[in-house]
């Protein structure tokens, strides 16, 4: 018998099918298709306010603008204020924006090891924890939020959901099956592996800047 068969049959006899299994009950098929909700904590906050608060707690910085067309200006402002390079790579969804008008040199491609700034969108964002939800895909290069030292993420205000559960619900209804990777990102990369001293920029970005757009 194969390892797989051996392991599964050991599980069955350990659970003495008909005893422990039935005592605990609950149909597997049913759970997998209806994915029942678990108890939730109090969620009576304002979603945008909570999201902003949690982003700051996670050491992200924030900006709010009224329309997509203002993204290059907001990006340029952030980069100059922080003395960061003004050439960047971004996702195809920002192709049409007038980057050069804001003195930013933008390339539409996935990031390589020495790109300094990456601009991404986000599928949605979770208010409860201040988390960006990025789905990998043809138009959503994963390395752009990972390799550059600065990650700038554009979040649409109407895509801020309350919980991770709501994010899953949205993905189930809009996307169907999961892409290769769903990345939940909450603030810059960090470690405390040396004497519990918190240091940003362990392997991923040193800083994450979130731009919330109204429309």
């Amino acid at each position: 018998m194969s390892a797989r068969e051996n392991i599964l049959s050991r599980i069955r006899s350990a659970n003495k099918v008909g005893e422990i299994r039935d005592a605990i009950g609950g149909a597997v098929e049913d759970r997998l298709t209806t994915h029942p909700a678990s108890p939730l904590p109090d969620l009576t906050w304002n979603d945008t306010e909570r999201f902003k608060q949690r982003c700051e707690d996670a050491a992200s910085t924030l900006d709010e603008i009224s329309q997509m067309d203002d993204v290059p200006e907001a990006v340029s402002r952030y980069l100059t204020e922080n003395n960061l390079p003004t050439s960047l790579v971004c996702w195809p969804e920002f192709k049409k924006l007038l980057w050069s008008k804001s003195n930013v040199e933008a390339e539409i491609r996935s990031a390589l090891g020495d790109d300094k700034v990456g601009v991404t969108g986000s599928y949605c964002a979770v208010a409860e924890t201040g988390t960006l939800v990025l789905l990998s895909g043809q138009e959503h290069h994963a390395t752009t939020s990972l390799l550059p030292e600065t990650h700038i993420a554009v979040v649409r205000r109407n895509r801020i959901v309350k919980t991770m559960e709501e994010a899953w619900q949205l993905i189930r209804s809009e996307v169907g099956s999961l892409p290769r990777q769903v990345a939940f990102i909450s603030g810059p990369s960090r470690t405390a592996d040396i004497e519990m001293t918190l240091v940003y920029g362990a392997h991923g970005p040193f800083r994450v800047h979130v731009i919330i757009v109204d429309s």
Partner: protein
């Protein structure tokens, strides 16, 4: 990994005298404990959520075969290659085979406790393939040729000075003294490896049956890189990591980071489902998952089964007074602290970890903080009973218990013996009221402290006397 838990007594004695280690442990002691306490307050119904998580884990274990089969069929549908392994050797050999089939020369690795169990790095290197640990803590101990002393913070036994010396020697660069600079030096050294490694190995905190996904939870971003940059990705996991749905995962995520590091969420939660899709610019061409069962099914069928609910948060060790004083290495295997005291004997045989179930005061700090409500002290007590049944206790201990049992069922004799002992004890202490040295097994006690003498009367005498007085 080779097990050295038999030496617990001797090693923990030495660790207590190791000043450097004591300093490092002292420094680490409150960090996780304090931040956890703060951040669980953020959930108004923490206990309800904790109970729900415990119930989900129980449900899942009771139907583990069905959930694993469901997971497997979803995983395969998204292009994942699924392997099963019944021994450490089998898992290691599978990894090497995948590497050789793909002409892999260099592997980058994100932290995996299953990999520590199987001794994966040594095995893979033995086949001429380079392995680079990338989690900062794991990188430090790989450079030092050691193994993790904590499941979340693997290098917590090392001081900053240790790391400074180590990096200066290994990197052949000027010695740095600042944690930030040291971290960034490691980043600089490791970055090229992320870019040119052929294969990435990660663990998996969870496998989601609903979607056939694996998830890793990290703060540094090394895990996300390991799953994204190389052309082959292998995730190694074990059967009990399977949970039913994405919603169940959301539930676990309210508890895991809070219990582990005191964060509301870890920085990077990366859920992988299959290899690179058509049109994707990044991601591996091949994605393999190896599911291990060593010891797990045995524990599932035993009275220790609750231990399989563990989500590896480390809270039980952070809160354990024994761990806080001796550190993780004293436990002699992959998992330290209370959960290690249960899993080490459960997976490796109780005769190979004889002292571990006794390395606890049964104060139940671990049971109180465990996010999935594993009754750790009860499990350690069960293991102690087993030691007794298997005749593994020391002669002195067995004789003492037998003697006590004999007396306990003979009240008259018990009363006489205890009276004599109480008086003798008082005499021994003399005017100081303290006994400085004792003999036989009791010398262990007086080696490090004095024993206050009995007052000369037994509890029973005082009780009877008080009753009389109260009647009057």
């Amino acid at each position: 990994m080779e097990i050295t838990s038999q030496d617990f007594k001797a090693v923990s004695g030495a660790k207590l005298k190791d000043e450097k280690l004591q300093k490092a442990l002292f420094q680490a002691k409150d960090g996780f404990v304090v931040s956890r306490a703060k951040v669980i307050k953020d959930l108004d119904n923490f206990e309800t959520i904790r109970q729900a998580a415990s119930d989900v884990r129980d449900h899942c274990l009771a139907h583990l075969d069905e959930y694993l089969e469901a997971w497997e069929s979803q995983a395969k549908a998204s292009g994942t290659v699924v392997h099963w392994a019944e021994s450490y050797e089998e898992l290691n050999a599978l990894v090497v085979k995948i590497a050789q089939d793909n002409q892999v020369k260099k592997i980058i690795k994100s932290k995996s406790m299953v990999g520590e169990e199987t001794g994966l790095n040594k095995y893979v290197e033995g086949h001429g393939i380079e392995v680079k640990e990338t989690d900062l803590g794991e990188y430090i101990i790989q450079q030092a040729g050691e193994y993790p002393s904590h499941i979340i913070a693997p290098a917590t036994h090392k001081s900053k000075e240790d790391v400074s010396d180590l990096f200066a020697e290994k990197h052949q660069r000027p010695r740095l003294e600042d944690a930030e600079k040291l971290t960034h030096e490691a980043r600089e050294i490791l970055r090229p490896h992320f870019l040119d490694a052929d294969m990435g190995i990660t663990g998996a905190n969870f496998m989601i049956a609903e979607t056939g996904s694996t998830v890793i939870v990290t703060n540094e971003g090394n895990g996300r890189m390991t799953t994204t940059m190389p052309r082959v990705h292998v995730a190694i996991s074990s059967i009990e990591k399977c949970i039913p749905t994405l919603d169940d995962f959301a539930l676990m995520m309210r508890l895991l980071p809070r219990s582990a590091t005191g964060q509301v969420i870890s920085n990077y939660v990366s859920m992988t489902t299959g290899p690179k899709r058509e049109g994707d610019h990044d991601g591996p061409e091949e994605f393999h998952v190896i599911i291990l069962d060593v010891g797990r099914t045995r524990v599932l069928g035993s009275e220790l089964r609750d231990a399989l609910r563990c989500i590896r948060c480390g809270a039980c060790m952070n809160h354990c007074p024994v761990y806080q004083n001796v550190g993780g290495h004293a436990y002699g295997w992959v998992y330290p602290g209370p959960i290690g005291s249960v899993l080490t004997p459960a997976y490796n045989g109780i005769e190979n970890a004889i002292d571990l179930p006794n390395a606890a005061t049964l104060c139940n700090q671990c049971g109180v903080v465990c996010p999935v409500k594993i009754p750790l002290p009860d499990l350690m007590r069960k293991l102690r009973e087993k030691q007794y049944e298997k005749d593994l206790k020391s002669k002195t201990e067995k004789w003492s218990i037998k003697l006590w049992a004999y007396l306990a069922v003979r009240p008259k004799l018990y009363s006489i013996v205890t009276r004599v002992m109480a008086r003798a004890g008082k005499m021994l202490g003399g005017s100081s009221g303290q006994i400085k040295t004792m003999i036989f097994a009791a010398q262990e006690w007086t080696k490090h402290r004095d024993l206050p003498t009995p007052r000369g009367r037994t509890f029973r005498d005082i009780y009877v006397n008080n009753k009389k007085v109260n009647k009057r």
